[in-house]
Protein backbone atom coordinates (compact mmCIF):
# COMPACT_ATOMS: atom_id res chain seq x y z
CA UNK A 1 0.00 0.00 0.00
CA UNK A 2 3.01 2.27 -0.04
CA UNK A 3 2.80 2.74 -3.78
CA UNK A 4 0.35 5.61 -3.95
CA UNK A 5 0.14 6.97 -7.46
CA UNK A 6 -2.23 9.35 -9.13
CA UNK A 7 -4.45 6.69 -10.63
CA UNK A 8 -4.85 5.13 -7.23
CA UNK A 9 -6.27 8.31 -5.77
CA UNK A 10 -8.66 8.44 -8.70
CA UNK A 11 -9.64 4.81 -8.30
CA UNK A 12 -10.46 5.19 -4.62
CA UNK A 13 -14.01 6.56 -4.98
CA UNK A 14 -14.82 3.91 -7.57
CA UNK A 15 -13.53 1.16 -5.33
CA UNK A 16 -15.49 2.44 -2.34
CA UNK A 17 -18.62 2.89 -4.43
CA UNK A 18 -18.68 -0.82 -5.18
CA UNK A 19 -16.90 -1.83 -2.04
CA UNK A 20 -19.18 -4.47 -0.59
CA UNK A 21 -19.53 -7.17 -3.26
CA UNK A 22 -16.02 -6.93 -4.68
CA UNK A 23 -14.18 -9.69 -2.87
CA UNK A 24 -15.47 -12.48 -5.08
CA UNK A 25 -14.99 -10.77 -8.48
CA UNK A 26 -11.34 -10.10 -7.67
CA UNK A 27 -10.65 -13.80 -7.28
CA UNK A 28 -12.31 -14.51 -10.61
CA UNK A 29 -10.44 -11.69 -12.31
CA UNK A 30 -7.12 -13.01 -11.05
CA UNK A 31 -7.89 -16.68 -11.69
CA UNK A 32 -6.53 -17.12 -15.27
CA UNK A 33 -3.28 -15.31 -14.53
CA UNK A 34 -3.12 -17.06 -11.17
CA UNK A 35 -3.36 -20.46 -12.87
CA UNK A 36 -0.36 -19.68 -15.08
CA UNK A 37 1.69 -18.29 -12.20
CA UNK A 38 0.53 -21.21 -10.05
CA UNK A 39 1.94 -23.66 -12.58
CA UNK A 40 5.30 -21.97 -12.03
CA UNK A 41 5.02 -22.70 -8.31
CA UNK A 42 4.06 -26.32 -9.03
CA UNK A 43 7.17 -26.62 -11.20
CA UNK A 44 9.36 -25.20 -8.43
CA UNK A 45 7.87 -27.52 -5.80
CA UNK A 46 8.27 -30.54 -8.08
CA UNK A 47 11.97 -29.83 -8.53
CA UNK A 48 12.34 -29.12 -4.81
CA UNK A 49 10.90 -32.57 -4.04
CA UNK A 50 13.11 -34.31 -6.59
CA UNK A 51 16.22 -32.54 -5.30
CA UNK A 52 15.71 -34.19 -1.90
CA UNK A 53 15.13 -37.65 -3.39
CA UNK A 54 17.64 -40.42 -3.99
CA UNK A 55 18.71 -41.09 -7.56
CA UNK A 56 16.35 -43.42 -9.51
CA UNK A 57 13.80 -43.29 -6.63
CA UNK A 58 13.08 -39.57 -6.74
CA UNK A 59 9.49 -39.72 -5.54
CA UNK A 60 9.91 -42.19 -2.69
CA UNK A 61 12.90 -41.71 -0.44
CA UNK A 62 14.69 -38.74 1.02
CA UNK A 63 18.34 -37.87 0.62
CA UNK A 64 20.71 -34.92 0.80
CA UNK A 65 23.18 -36.53 -1.59
CA UNK A 66 22.25 -34.28 -4.51
CA UNK A 67 23.06 -31.10 -2.59
CA UNK A 68 26.32 -32.55 -1.31
CA UNK A 69 27.26 -33.38 -4.90
CA UNK A 70 26.10 -29.98 -6.21
CA UNK A 71 28.57 -28.30 -3.88
CA UNK A 72 31.44 -30.62 -4.65
CA UNK A 73 34.49 -28.83 -6.13
CA UNK A 74 33.65 -29.69 -9.75
CA UNK A 75 30.10 -28.38 -9.74
CA UNK A 76 30.98 -25.51 -7.42
CA UNK A 77 33.55 -24.33 -9.97
CA UNK A 78 30.86 -24.33 -12.67
CA UNK A 79 28.46 -22.43 -10.39
CA UNK A 80 31.15 -19.85 -9.65
CA UNK A 81 32.12 -19.65 -13.33
CA UNK A 82 28.47 -18.98 -14.26
CA UNK A 83 28.20 -16.24 -11.64
CA UNK A 84 31.50 -14.77 -12.86
CA UNK A 85 30.32 -14.75 -16.51
CA UNK A 86 27.02 -13.15 -15.48
CA UNK A 87 28.82 -10.53 -13.41
CA UNK A 88 31.33 -9.57 -16.13
CA UNK A 89 28.59 -9.47 -18.79
CA UNK A 90 26.43 -7.31 -16.51
CA UNK A 91 29.24 -4.80 -15.97
CA UNK A 92 30.11 -4.75 -19.69
CA UNK A 93 26.46 -4.35 -20.71
CA UNK A 94 26.07 -1.42 -18.32
CA UNK A 95 29.24 0.29 -19.54
CA UNK A 96 28.15 -0.13 -23.17
CA UNK A 97 24.64 1.06 -22.32
CA UNK A 98 25.74 4.32 -20.72
CA UNK A 99 26.56 6.31 -23.90
CA UNK A 100 23.53 4.81 -25.68
CA UNK A 101 21.23 5.85 -22.83
CA UNK A 102 22.82 9.32 -22.71
CA UNK A 103 22.22 9.71 -26.43
CA UNK A 104 18.59 8.60 -26.12
CA UNK A 105 17.92 11.04 -23.29
CA UNK A 106 19.69 14.02 -24.86
CA UNK A 107 18.75 13.81 -28.52
CA UNK A 108 15.99 16.19 -29.49
CA UNK A 109 14.99 14.03 -32.44
CA UNK A 110 12.20 11.62 -31.60
CA UNK A 111 12.97 9.61 -34.71
CA UNK A 112 16.61 9.08 -33.66
CA UNK A 113 15.48 7.94 -30.20
CA UNK A 114 12.92 5.50 -31.60
CA UNK A 115 15.45 4.17 -34.11
CA UNK A 116 18.07 3.52 -31.41
CA UNK A 117 15.44 1.80 -29.27
CA UNK A 118 14.41 -0.50 -32.12
CA UNK A 119 18.06 -1.27 -32.91
CA UNK A 120 18.89 -2.34 -29.35
CA UNK A 121 15.63 -4.29 -28.95
CA UNK A 122 16.10 -6.21 -32.21
CA UNK A 123 18.82 -8.66 -30.99
CA UNK A 124 16.76 -9.51 -27.92
CA UNK A 125 13.59 -10.03 -29.95
CA UNK A 126 15.15 -11.98 -32.83
CA UNK A 127 16.79 -14.30 -30.33
CA UNK A 128 20.22 -15.81 -30.23
CA UNK A 129 19.57 -18.91 -32.33
CA UNK A 130 19.30 -16.94 -35.57
CA UNK A 131 22.06 -14.54 -34.56
CA UNK A 132 24.45 -17.31 -33.61
CA UNK A 133 24.81 -18.08 -37.33
CA UNK A 134 25.91 -14.47 -37.74
CA UNK A 135 28.27 -14.73 -34.77
CA UNK A 136 29.89 -17.82 -36.32
CA UNK A 137 30.42 -15.85 -39.56
CA UNK A 138 32.02 -13.00 -37.57
CA UNK A 139 34.06 -14.82 -34.94
CA UNK A 140 34.79 -18.14 -36.64
CA UNK A 141 38.29 -19.25 -37.70
CA UNK A 142 37.61 -17.92 -41.24
CA UNK A 143 35.19 -15.28 -40.06
CA UNK A 144 35.13 -11.54 -40.59
CA UNK A 145 37.50 -10.61 -37.76
CA UNK A 146 40.15 -13.14 -38.75
CA UNK A 147 39.87 -12.12 -42.42
CA UNK A 148 40.49 -8.50 -41.46
CA UNK A 149 43.40 -9.52 -39.21
CA UNK A 150 44.79 -11.57 -42.12
CA UNK A 151 44.75 -8.53 -44.39
CA UNK A 152 46.63 -6.50 -41.78
CA UNK A 153 49.13 -8.96 -40.33
CA UNK A 154 49.29 -11.60 -43.04
CA UNK A 155 48.86 -14.31 -40.45
CA UNK A 156 45.88 -16.62 -40.95
CA UNK A 157 43.49 -17.41 -38.07
CA UNK A 158 45.03 -15.02 -35.56
CA UNK A 159 42.20 -15.03 -33.05
CA UNK A 160 40.23 -17.93 -31.65
CA UNK A 161 37.07 -16.22 -30.52
CA UNK A 162 34.50 -18.91 -31.05
CA UNK A 163 33.82 -21.73 -28.60
CA UNK A 164 35.52 -20.00 -25.68
CA UNK A 165 34.73 -17.46 -22.97
CA UNK A 166 35.25 -14.42 -25.22
CA UNK A 167 32.56 -15.47 -27.69
CA UNK A 168 30.15 -16.36 -24.89
CA UNK A 169 30.67 -12.99 -23.19
CA UNK A 170 30.05 -11.12 -26.46
CA UNK A 171 26.81 -13.01 -26.97
CA UNK A 172 25.70 -12.50 -23.36
CA UNK A 173 26.28 -8.73 -23.58
CA UNK A 174 24.76 -8.24 -27.02
CA UNK A 175 21.43 -9.92 -26.22
CA UNK A 176 20.87 -8.24 -22.85
CA UNK A 177 21.70 -4.60 -23.66
CA UNK A 178 18.05 -3.47 -23.66
CA UNK A 179 17.74 -4.69 -20.05
CA UNK A 180 20.57 -2.34 -19.08
CA UNK A 181 19.62 0.60 -21.32
CA UNK A 182 15.95 1.01 -20.35
CA UNK A 183 16.43 1.51 -16.55
CA UNK A 184 19.36 3.85 -17.32
CA UNK A 185 17.21 5.94 -19.64
CA UNK A 186 14.51 6.33 -17.02
CA UNK A 187 16.96 7.41 -14.31
CA UNK A 188 18.96 9.72 -16.61
CA UNK A 189 15.84 11.41 -17.92
CA UNK A 190 14.82 12.68 -14.48
CA UNK A 191 18.10 14.57 -13.92
CA UNK A 192 17.16 18.22 -14.29
CA UNK A 193 19.40 20.03 -16.79
CA UNK A 194 19.59 22.93 -14.29
CA UNK A 195 21.74 20.70 -12.16
CA UNK A 196 24.37 20.30 -14.88
CA UNK A 197 24.26 24.03 -15.55
CA UNK A 198 24.63 24.81 -11.86
CA UNK A 199 27.67 22.55 -11.73
CA UNK A 200 29.28 24.30 -14.68
CA UNK A 201 28.42 27.76 -13.30
CA UNK A 202 30.15 26.75 -10.08
CA UNK A 203 33.23 25.95 -12.15
CA UNK A 204 33.01 22.18 -12.56
CA UNK A 205 34.63 20.80 -15.66
CA UNK A 206 32.55 18.38 -17.76
CA UNK A 207 34.30 15.31 -16.38
CA UNK A 208 33.71 16.55 -12.85
CA UNK A 209 30.05 17.11 -13.65
CA UNK A 210 29.83 13.53 -14.91
CA UNK A 211 31.57 12.14 -11.86
CA UNK A 212 29.87 14.15 -9.16
CA UNK A 213 26.45 14.95 -10.63
CA UNK A 214 25.36 12.65 -13.44
CA UNK A 215 26.87 9.38 -12.24
CA UNK A 216 25.51 9.52 -8.67
CA UNK A 217 22.05 10.47 -9.93
CA UNK A 218 22.07 7.68 -12.52
CA UNK A 219 23.05 5.15 -9.84
CA UNK A 220 19.54 3.65 -9.34
CA UNK A 221 19.31 2.99 -13.09
CA UNK A 222 22.85 1.61 -13.25
CA UNK A 223 22.18 -0.72 -10.32
CA UNK A 224 18.78 -1.85 -11.61
CA UNK A 225 20.16 -2.58 -15.08
CA UNK A 226 23.26 -4.40 -13.83
CA UNK A 227 21.16 -6.57 -11.51
CA UNK A 228 18.68 -7.41 -14.28
CA UNK A 229 21.40 -8.43 -16.74
CA UNK A 230 23.17 -10.41 -14.02
CA UNK A 231 19.99 -12.27 -13.11
CA UNK A 232 19.10 -12.95 -16.73
CA UNK A 233 22.58 -14.25 -17.58
CA UNK A 234 22.96 -16.57 -14.59
CA UNK A 235 20.34 -18.68 -16.37
CA UNK A 236 22.18 -18.44 -19.71
CA UNK A 237 21.65 -21.53 -21.84
CA UNK A 238 21.42 -20.72 -25.54
CA UNK A 239 24.53 -18.53 -25.64
CA UNK A 240 26.93 -21.06 -24.07
CA UNK A 241 25.23 -23.87 -26.01
CA UNK A 242 25.71 -22.21 -29.39
CA UNK A 243 28.77 -19.98 -28.92
CA UNK A 244 30.59 -21.84 -26.15
CA UNK A 245 30.79 -25.23 -27.79
CA UNK A 246 31.44 -27.83 -25.15
CA UNK A 247 34.16 -25.79 -23.52
CA UNK A 248 32.14 -23.20 -21.62
CA UNK A 249 29.71 -24.73 -19.15
CA UNK A 250 27.09 -22.85 -17.21
CA UNK A 251 24.68 -24.06 -14.52
CA UNK A 252 21.86 -24.27 -17.06
CA UNK A 253 23.90 -26.41 -19.49
CA UNK A 254 24.91 -28.74 -16.63
CA UNK A 255 21.27 -29.04 -15.55
CA UNK A 256 20.37 -30.11 -19.09
CA UNK A 257 23.15 -32.75 -19.08
CA UNK A 258 22.23 -34.12 -15.65
CA UNK A 259 18.50 -34.26 -16.41
CA UNK A 260 19.03 -35.61 -19.90
CA UNK A 261 21.85 -37.90 -20.92
CA UNK A 262 23.23 -38.52 -17.42
CA UNK A 263 19.75 -39.00 -15.91
CA UNK A 264 20.79 -37.79 -12.49
CA UNK A 265 17.51 -36.03 -11.70
CA UNK A 266 18.19 -35.13 -8.06
CA UNK A 267 21.46 -33.41 -8.95
CA UNK A 268 19.81 -31.53 -11.84
CA UNK A 269 16.99 -30.50 -9.51
CA UNK A 270 19.42 -29.38 -6.79
CA UNK A 271 21.30 -27.22 -9.34
CA UNK A 272 17.92 -25.87 -10.51
CA UNK A 273 17.22 -24.87 -6.91
CA UNK A 274 20.49 -22.92 -6.94
CA UNK A 275 19.39 -21.09 -10.11
CA UNK A 276 15.93 -20.36 -8.69
CA UNK A 277 17.55 -19.07 -5.50
CA UNK A 278 19.70 -16.67 -7.52
CA UNK A 279 16.66 -15.56 -9.56
CA UNK A 280 14.64 -14.85 -6.40
CA UNK A 281 17.54 -12.92 -4.85
CA UNK A 282 17.77 -10.86 -8.01
CA UNK A 283 14.07 -10.05 -7.87
CA UNK A 284 14.34 -8.99 -4.22
CA UNK A 285 17.45 -6.89 -4.93
CA UNK A 286 15.80 -5.31 -7.94
CA UNK A 287 12.78 -4.39 -5.83
CA UNK A 288 15.00 -2.68 -3.27
CA UNK A 289 16.76 -0.75 -6.02
CA UNK A 290 14.16 1.98 -5.91
CA UNK A 291 12.03 0.75 -8.79
CA UNK A 292 8.76 0.71 -6.90
CA UNK A 293 6.84 -1.80 -8.91
CA UNK A 294 7.66 -4.14 -11.74
CA UNK A 295 4.76 -2.84 -13.76
CA UNK A 296 5.10 0.82 -12.99
CA UNK A 297 7.36 3.37 -14.67
Amino acid sequence: MTTVGTSEAAAAPLASAIASPIRRPIIWLLLPAGLLAGLLLVCTLTLLRISFGPRYAEWNGWSLAAFVEAFSPYFLSIILNTIWLALVSAVLATVVSFPIALFMVRTSSRLARDLVLICIMLPMVVGLLVQSFGWVAILGPDGLINQVAFLITGEPRTFSLLFNTTGVLLGLVQTTIPLAVLPLVSSLSVIPSDLEEAASVLGARRLQTYRHVILPMAMPGIAAGTILVFGFNTGAFVVPLLLGGSRVSTIAVIIRDQMGTLSNWPLGAALSMALIFIALSVQVAHRHMGSRSRFER
Binding site: G5, P32, L41, P123, G134, R294
Partner: protein, 278 residues
Amino acid sequence: MSGIGRHGAESALIGSVTAILIALILAPIAIVVVMSFTAASTLQFPPPGFSLRWYLEVWHMATGDAASLTRLTESFRVSVAIAALTAFLCVLASVPASYALVRYRFPGRSAVEELLGLPIVFPAVVLGIALLILVSVSGIEFGLWQIVAAHAITFLPFTMRNCITALKGVDPELEEAAKTLGASPLRTFVEIVLPLMRAGIAWGVLLVFILSFNEFTLSYFLYTVDVFPLSIWLFQQSNTSFSPAIFAVSALTIFFNIGIILTVDAIVGKRGGAHIRS
Protein backbone atom coordinates in the same frame (compact mmCIF):
# COMPACT_ATOMS: atom_id res chain seq x y z
CA MET B 1 19.16 19.84 -23.98
CA SER B 2 21.90 21.25 -21.82
CA GLY B 3 24.26 23.41 -23.82
CA ILE B 4 24.06 21.96 -27.30
CA GLY B 5 26.30 24.81 -28.43
CA ARG B 6 28.76 24.70 -25.58
CA HIS B 7 29.12 20.94 -25.49
CA GLY B 8 28.85 20.35 -29.21
CA ALA B 9 31.98 18.21 -29.20
CA GLU B 10 30.63 16.17 -26.31
CA SER B 11 27.31 15.39 -27.95
CA ALA B 12 29.11 14.59 -31.20
CA LEU B 13 31.30 12.14 -29.26
CA ILE B 14 28.30 10.51 -27.58
CA GLY B 15 26.50 10.35 -30.92
CA SER B 16 29.39 8.66 -32.72
CA VAL B 17 30.08 6.22 -29.88
CA THR B 18 26.39 5.29 -29.92
CA ALA B 19 26.48 4.81 -33.70
CA ILE B 20 29.51 2.48 -33.44
CA LEU B 21 27.94 0.49 -30.61
CA ILE B 22 24.64 0.12 -32.49
CA ALA B 23 26.55 -1.09 -35.55
CA LEU B 24 28.32 -3.73 -33.40
CA ILE B 25 25.06 -4.77 -31.74
CA LEU B 26 23.36 -5.25 -35.10
CA ALA B 27 26.40 -6.90 -36.76
CA PRO B 28 25.26 -10.55 -36.31
CA ILE B 29 21.81 -9.81 -37.73
CA ALA B 30 23.29 -7.82 -40.61
CA ILE B 31 25.74 -10.64 -41.43
CA VAL B 32 22.93 -13.20 -41.48
CA VAL B 33 21.00 -11.08 -43.95
CA VAL B 34 24.08 -10.42 -46.13
CA MET B 35 25.14 -14.08 -46.15
CA SER B 36 21.66 -15.20 -47.15
CA PHE B 37 22.21 -13.45 -50.51
CA THR B 38 25.54 -15.15 -51.22
CA ALA B 39 26.13 -16.67 -54.63
CA ALA B 40 28.58 -19.24 -53.24
CA SER B 41 27.64 -22.64 -51.92
CA THR B 42 29.86 -22.23 -48.88
CA LEU B 43 29.80 -19.70 -46.06
CA GLN B 44 32.94 -17.83 -47.08
CA PHE B 45 32.99 -14.19 -46.10
CA PRO B 46 32.83 -11.77 -47.84
CA PRO B 47 30.55 -13.47 -50.38
CA PRO B 48 32.13 -13.68 -53.87
CA GLY B 49 28.85 -12.46 -55.38
CA PHE B 50 25.21 -12.00 -54.63
CA SER B 51 22.21 -13.98 -55.80
CA LEU B 52 18.80 -15.21 -54.74
CA ARG B 53 19.70 -18.87 -55.23
CA TRP B 54 19.33 -19.79 -51.55
CA TYR B 55 15.93 -18.16 -51.35
CA LEU B 56 14.98 -20.24 -54.38
CA GLU B 57 16.34 -23.28 -52.57
CA VAL B 58 14.22 -22.45 -49.50
CA TRP B 59 11.21 -22.02 -51.79
CA HIS B 60 11.81 -25.54 -53.12
CA MET B 61 12.25 -26.87 -49.61
CA ALA B 62 8.94 -25.34 -48.59
CA THR B 63 6.82 -26.17 -51.62
CA GLY B 64 8.65 -28.85 -53.63
CA ASP B 65 8.11 -32.59 -53.69
CA ALA B 66 10.27 -33.04 -50.62
CA ALA B 67 8.32 -30.45 -48.60
CA SER B 68 6.93 -33.07 -46.25
CA LEU B 69 10.44 -34.44 -45.76
CA THR B 70 12.11 -31.14 -44.98
CA ARG B 71 9.17 -30.17 -42.72
CA LEU B 72 9.97 -26.47 -43.20
CA THR B 73 6.39 -25.36 -43.94
CA GLU B 74 5.06 -27.56 -41.19
CA SER B 75 7.50 -26.06 -38.66
CA PHE B 76 6.54 -22.55 -39.67
CA ARG B 77 2.86 -23.36 -39.21
CA VAL B 78 3.51 -24.93 -35.80
CA SER B 79 5.47 -21.87 -34.66
CA VAL B 80 2.73 -19.49 -35.81
CA ALA B 81 0.06 -21.59 -34.08
CA ILE B 82 2.05 -21.70 -30.83
CA ALA B 83 2.75 -17.95 -30.96
CA ALA B 84 -0.90 -17.08 -31.68
CA LEU B 85 -2.25 -19.33 -28.91
CA THR B 86 0.35 -17.98 -26.47
CA ALA B 87 -0.53 -14.37 -27.24
CA PHE B 88 -4.25 -15.17 -26.93
CA LEU B 89 -3.78 -16.94 -23.56
CA CYS B 90 -1.61 -14.10 -22.20
CA VAL B 91 -4.18 -11.46 -23.11
CA LEU B 92 -7.04 -13.57 -21.76
CA ALA B 93 -5.21 -13.78 -18.43
CA SER B 94 -3.80 -10.24 -18.36
CA VAL B 95 -6.87 -8.13 -19.09
CA PRO B 96 -8.95 -9.25 -16.06
CA ALA B 97 -5.88 -9.51 -13.79
CA SER B 98 -4.69 -6.01 -14.68
CA TYR B 99 -8.23 -4.69 -14.01
CA ALA B 100 -8.15 -6.26 -10.53
CA LEU B 101 -4.68 -4.83 -9.79
CA VAL B 102 -5.36 -1.31 -11.07
CA ARG B 103 -8.96 -0.74 -9.94
CA TYR B 104 -9.17 -2.59 -6.62
CA ARG B 105 -7.32 -2.47 -3.30
CA PHE B 106 -7.32 -5.83 -1.59
CA PRO B 107 -5.18 -7.74 0.91
CA GLY B 108 -2.32 -9.62 -0.71
CA ARG B 109 -2.31 -7.34 -3.74
CA SER B 110 1.44 -6.73 -3.65
CA ALA B 111 2.06 -10.48 -3.23
CA VAL B 112 -0.02 -11.13 -6.37
CA GLU B 113 1.94 -8.45 -8.21
CA GLU B 114 5.20 -10.05 -7.09
CA LEU B 115 4.06 -13.51 -8.20
CA LEU B 116 2.95 -12.27 -11.62
CA GLY B 117 6.33 -10.58 -12.15
CA LEU B 118 8.29 -13.69 -11.19
CA PRO B 119 8.46 -15.29 -14.68
CA ILE B 120 10.74 -12.46 -15.87
CA VAL B 121 13.61 -13.68 -13.72
CA PHE B 122 12.69 -17.39 -13.62
CA PRO B 123 15.34 -19.39 -15.55
CA ALA B 124 13.87 -20.84 -18.75
CA VAL B 125 15.87 -24.08 -18.55
CA VAL B 126 14.44 -24.83 -15.11
CA LEU B 127 10.87 -24.16 -16.24
CA GLY B 128 11.34 -26.25 -19.38
CA ILE B 129 12.74 -29.24 -17.49
CA ALA B 130 10.16 -29.06 -14.69
CA LEU B 131 7.30 -28.99 -17.22
CA LEU B 132 8.89 -31.88 -19.10
CA ILE B 133 8.98 -33.90 -15.88
CA LEU B 134 5.36 -33.01 -15.05
CA VAL B 135 4.24 -33.95 -18.57
CA SER B 136 6.01 -37.30 -18.52
CA VAL B 137 4.71 -38.10 -15.02
CA SER B 138 1.13 -37.26 -16.05
CA GLY B 139 1.39 -39.55 -19.07
CA ILE B 140 -0.99 -37.30 -21.05
CA GLU B 141 -0.38 -36.18 -24.65
CA PHE B 142 -0.53 -32.39 -24.61
CA GLY B 143 0.60 -31.81 -28.21
CA LEU B 144 1.62 -28.22 -28.75
CA TRP B 145 -0.11 -27.13 -25.53
CA GLN B 146 2.94 -27.97 -23.44
CA ILE B 147 4.98 -25.39 -25.34
CA VAL B 148 2.06 -22.92 -25.30
CA ALA B 149 1.76 -23.26 -21.51
CA ALA B 150 5.50 -22.71 -21.03
CA HIS B 151 5.46 -19.65 -23.30
CA ALA B 152 2.33 -18.21 -21.69
CA ILE B 153 3.89 -18.48 -18.22
CA THR B 154 7.14 -16.87 -19.36
CA PHE B 155 5.65 -14.03 -21.41
CA LEU B 156 2.68 -13.20 -19.16
CA PRO B 157 4.53 -10.28 -17.47
CA PHE B 158 4.85 -8.53 -20.86
CA THR B 159 1.10 -8.40 -21.55
CA MET B 160 0.43 -7.68 -17.86
CA ARG B 161 2.65 -4.63 -18.02
CA ASN B 162 1.08 -3.33 -21.24
CA CYS B 163 -2.46 -3.88 -19.97
CA ILE B 164 -1.71 -2.16 -16.65
CA THR B 165 -0.19 0.84 -18.44
CA ALA B 166 -3.15 0.98 -20.81
CA LEU B 167 -5.70 0.69 -18.01
CA LYS B 168 -4.05 3.47 -16.01
CA GLY B 169 -4.67 5.74 -18.98
CA VAL B 170 -8.42 5.07 -18.79
CA ASP B 171 -10.20 7.63 -16.60
CA PRO B 172 -12.24 5.80 -13.90
CA GLU B 173 -14.83 8.59 -14.11
CA LEU B 174 -15.83 7.31 -17.55
CA GLU B 175 -16.78 4.01 -15.95
CA GLU B 176 -18.69 5.74 -13.18
CA ALA B 177 -20.55 7.78 -15.75
CA ALA B 178 -21.51 4.66 -17.67
CA LYS B 179 -22.67 2.96 -14.49
CA THR B 180 -24.65 6.02 -13.41
CA LEU B 181 -26.39 5.87 -16.76
CA GLY B 182 -27.42 2.31 -15.98
CA ALA B 183 -24.85 0.17 -17.78
CA SER B 184 -23.94 -3.13 -16.11
CA PRO B 185 -20.30 -3.58 -14.98
CA LEU B 186 -19.70 -6.09 -17.79
CA ARG B 187 -21.19 -3.83 -20.44
CA THR B 188 -19.21 -0.86 -19.11
CA PHE B 189 -16.03 -2.89 -19.35
CA VAL B 190 -16.68 -4.24 -22.85
CA GLU B 191 -17.98 -1.00 -24.37
CA ILE B 192 -15.98 1.66 -22.54
CA VAL B 193 -12.80 0.27 -20.99
CA LEU B 194 -11.77 -2.38 -23.51
CA PRO B 195 -11.86 -0.09 -26.59
CA LEU B 196 -9.71 2.44 -24.73
CA MET B 197 -7.17 -0.27 -23.85
CA ARG B 198 -7.05 -1.49 -27.44
CA ALA B 199 -3.65 -0.05 -28.41
CA GLY B 200 -1.92 -1.34 -25.27
CA ILE B 201 -3.42 -4.80 -25.74
CA ALA B 202 -2.42 -4.87 -29.42
CA TRP B 203 1.23 -4.08 -28.63
CA GLY B 204 1.21 -6.72 -25.89
CA VAL B 205 -0.12 -9.31 -28.33
CA LEU B 206 2.54 -8.31 -30.88
CA LEU B 207 5.39 -8.52 -28.40
CA VAL B 208 4.34 -11.92 -27.04
CA PHE B 209 3.68 -13.29 -30.53
CA ILE B 210 7.18 -12.37 -31.70
CA LEU B 211 8.91 -13.53 -28.51
CA SER B 212 7.07 -16.86 -28.65
CA PHE B 213 7.72 -17.29 -32.38
CA ASN B 214 11.50 -16.89 -31.87
CA GLU B 215 11.74 -18.69 -28.54
CA PHE B 216 14.24 -21.55 -28.40
CA THR B 217 15.06 -22.78 -24.87
CA LEU B 218 11.57 -23.83 -23.72
CA SER B 219 10.77 -25.33 -27.14
CA TYR B 220 14.06 -27.25 -27.00
CA PHE B 221 12.88 -29.15 -23.92
CA LEU B 222 9.20 -29.51 -24.81
CA TYR B 223 9.10 -30.19 -28.56
CA THR B 224 7.97 -33.61 -29.76
CA VAL B 225 8.23 -35.48 -33.05
CA ASP B 226 4.82 -34.13 -34.06
CA VAL B 227 5.27 -30.62 -32.69
CA PHE B 228 8.40 -29.27 -34.31
CA PRO B 229 8.71 -25.47 -34.10
CA LEU B 230 10.80 -23.44 -36.55
CA SER B 231 13.46 -22.58 -33.95
CA ILE B 232 14.05 -26.29 -33.37
CA TRP B 233 14.09 -26.88 -37.13
CA LEU B 234 16.84 -24.25 -37.50
CA PHE B 235 18.82 -25.72 -34.62
CA GLN B 236 18.69 -29.25 -36.05
CA GLN B 237 19.61 -28.02 -39.53
CA SER B 238 22.58 -26.07 -38.19
CA ASN B 239 23.81 -29.25 -36.51
CA THR B 240 23.52 -31.40 -39.63
CA SER B 241 24.08 -29.36 -42.80
CA PHE B 242 25.37 -25.87 -42.32
CA SER B 243 24.43 -24.46 -45.75
CA PRO B 244 23.53 -20.87 -46.72
CA ALA B 245 19.91 -22.06 -46.95
CA ILE B 246 19.78 -21.82 -43.16
CA PHE B 247 20.86 -18.19 -43.44
CA ALA B 248 18.05 -17.59 -45.93
CA VAL B 249 15.48 -19.11 -43.57
CA SER B 250 16.94 -17.06 -40.69
CA ALA B 251 16.79 -13.88 -42.75
CA LEU B 252 13.19 -14.68 -43.65
CA THR B 253 12.26 -14.96 -39.96
CA ILE B 254 13.93 -11.58 -39.34
CA PHE B 255 11.91 -10.04 -42.22
CA PHE B 256 8.78 -11.76 -40.85
CA ASN B 257 9.36 -10.18 -37.40
CA ILE B 258 9.96 -6.71 -38.81
CA GLY B 259 6.95 -7.06 -41.11
CA ILE B 260 4.64 -7.86 -38.18
CA ILE B 261 5.97 -4.91 -36.18
CA LEU B 262 5.40 -2.52 -39.10
CA THR B 263 1.91 -3.90 -39.75
CA VAL B 264 0.80 -3.49 -36.15
CA ASP B 265 2.36 -0.05 -36.07
CA ALA B 266 0.40 0.95 -39.18
CA ILE B 267 -2.89 -0.41 -37.80
CA VAL B 268 -2.67 0.68 -34.18
CA GLY B 269 -0.71 3.83 -34.85
CA LYS B 270 1.88 5.74 -32.93
CA ARG B 271 -0.30 6.31 -29.89
CA GLY B 272 -0.02 2.73 -28.81
CA GLY B 273 3.71 2.68 -29.38
CA ALA B 274 4.21 4.43 -26.08
CA HIS B 275 3.25 1.26 -24.24
CA ILE B 276 6.01 -0.88 -25.62
CA ARG B 277 8.45 1.77 -24.56
CA SER B 278 9.63 2.78 -21.07
